[in-house]
Symmetry: C2
């Protein structure tokens, strides 16, 4: 177990009221985890301290050269009062891949998971219990060298903050409308697309604003090379049910390898559904929609778990997925995954990790 | 003139000693400029304060979603004691393009230039005077909303810091060795390549480390679509002299529009040299090198002004540019631009702006 120095807050905040809608990403708990890194010394001084501002030199590299990464996972309160994390070791695997890609030091699996467990434990009272709510966990690493010039930083801070959250999509498990983007590109093979780093999100803003202005809640990205293969949504991976087969874009280097994506694939395989990870073009999608072969579309991600997609728009073509409602597989996946996360269903796949 | 609140430092630092080598990006002056932005209110409270840390919530968007931009320009001390900026209004034009691309609020031209002038004036004593030295100016904007979730921030800080600098490339006007990268991609059409934002620099780290390990000081990027057209160097644009013609990659959306690049093109045209902005493939470059048609290669950027390139490597092919030395046009461009910057040559093109 990681040896964490703990300084408890002297001024605990009042917990959000039970009927507080908990707007995603706006309320933070009483404590945060911090650990520093120096080249030659490694990670040191893991500590939990009162939630407080970060103080950095204006020349800190994170402000200039975007060397930053983050993760996102959730803690859930079960009816019998246990606290469960969902596959945190998969987040750690992604941390390793991200950090390698952007030249950040790695973190050991135990250190990553223990830090999260210890922090969640201390702020356990903040985990909301209403349906659809949870405690969002945001680990992130920033480059802190006070240096102007392009190179990997020699110093970093690894920080974890916590956020009690309601549903990410105000629509809830209501079908969302998705905009297929043909002008801007999020990421390209050889770039940062499969890393969870600020760059990909900064690159997504412009198309997102455009889509919102047109009344669409999310952007569906196409590949940056041929501009015809489907990649993923702003903060979700994407799945299609076509003629009874579950199809999702294959991880090609420019798509974020989602943990919900992985869980959905594993569940579908368990259920004996045919699953294909492969290239899928926007033309194939349009044809499938026209012919009626397109039975369901849904996004997968930690925030909303499963987001049924009711409408898509590509250039001037708007099309509805079946009756525009919630597909049967979408609903079953949602019920199963949230059931496991909340301890209502038996966790036969060993996906949850209890915080003790 | 912008109405700037000024709070002078009570503890001025000692100026670097005359023979301090001034390692790029490590020494900062006594003051900084800051201005805040809030949606609905616009930019407010422009102020010059003692150089000090930035204090942000751990949830500040800049740490997570990479919404950040920067600029880079220099102030020079002339022999007769004047302080000159080099084409600051071109940096402002680039700010506008960057900010539009990454959904940041714009800044007025006068505000941008006045802020820089006022800050440089206050810290004028920090401008070094030895040959090759200057005062590097780093304006940057960071997204400060304490919010987790992908959207443009509603609050920002615009900050300017100053750095007395020696030569950026320790090699000085010595030919550098350049690594042509065939695995990683910096930026792609539709992405952020033409914006001066952290994402592009984060994307460049991995290849840069690889190139350094192989003994190359900079990476030359190829386009992300066909992986065969030359784009630019890590922090420089690139020029070739082929059969008497000056060739540089055309601005295609994934290349940073350098101000030194622009100045070089304008000078070459003034001198009656044929200049072509067009696509140039790595194959054409290799052929020109083999046939002897490749007469010069040089990078252009604020930091080093002109960087002659002596060697290039593409996959397993290493080739030398002519005798590997400094080309005639490279030298003439360097002498002319630095001559204008330092007030030694008459500024017939009206490129310099005096700080009074
Ligand atoms: C770009 C992107 N794709 C996909 C996902 C889904 O990944 P996960 O299922 O691990 O939350 C996310 C969010 O985490 C994301 O930001
Ligand atoms: C990626 C990149 N390309 C080119 C340049 C050169 O631009 P400028 O001549 O304006 O300094 C820079 C540096 O500023 C840069 O960072």
């Amino acid at each position: 177990m990681l040896d964490i120095r703990i300084e408890k807050t002297q001024n605990p905040k009042t917990l959000p009221e039970k009927d507080n809608p908990l707007v995603f990403g706006t309320i933070f708990t009483d404590h945060m985890f911090i650990m520093n890194y120096e080249l030659g010394k490694g990670w040191f001084d893991p500590r939990i301290v009162p939630y407080q501002p970060i103080v950095l030199q204006p020349s800190a590299m994170v402000f200039h050269y975007g060397q930053e990464m983050f993760e996102g996972l959730k803690a859930y309160k079960t009816e019998d009062g246990r606290t469960l994390l969902f596959r945190p070791n998969k987040n750690w695997e992604r941390v390793i891949n991200t950090n390698r890609r952007i030249c950040m030091p790695e973190i050991e699996e135990d250190v990553f998971v223990d830090a999260i467990k210890a922090l969640v434990k201390i702020d356990e009272a903040w985990i909301p219990t209403k349906p659809g709510t949870s405690l969002y966990i945001r680990p992130f690493i920033i480059a802190t060298d006070p240096f102007l010039g392009v190179r990997p930083s020699n110093t970093y801070q690894f920080i974890v903050i916590l956020c009690p959250v309601g549903a990410y999509y105000p629509e809830g498990l209501n079908p969302v409308k998705i905009w297929i983007e043909d002008e801007y590109v999020r990421a390209v093979k050889g770039g940062l697309g499969e890393a969870k780093t600020g760059a990909n999100y900064c690159a997504s803003l412009k198309a997102q604003v455009k889509a919102h202005d047109e009344g669409y809640s999310q952007v569906l990205w196409l590949d940056g090379v041929e501009r015809k293969y489907i990649e993923e949504v702003g903060a979700m991976n994407i799945f299609f049910k076509i003629n009874g087969t579950i199809v999702t874009p294959v991880l090609n280097g420019s798509i974020l390898p989602g943990i919900t994506r992985k869980s959905v694939i594993e569940l579908c395989e368990l259920w004996g559904l045919p699953v294909e990870e492969r290239k899928i073009s926007v033309d194939e999608l349009l044809d499938a929609a026209k012919s009626g072969a397109l039975e369901e579309v849904f996004g997968t991600g930690t925030a909303a778990v499963i987001s049924p997609v009711g409408h898509l728009r590509f250039e001037d073509t708007v099309f509805q997925v079946k009756d525009g409602g919630i597909g049967q597989i979408s609903q079953k996946l949602y019920d199963t995954i949230t059931g496991i996360q909340l301890g209502k269903l038996e966790d036969t796949l060993n996906w949850t990790v209890e915080v003790k």
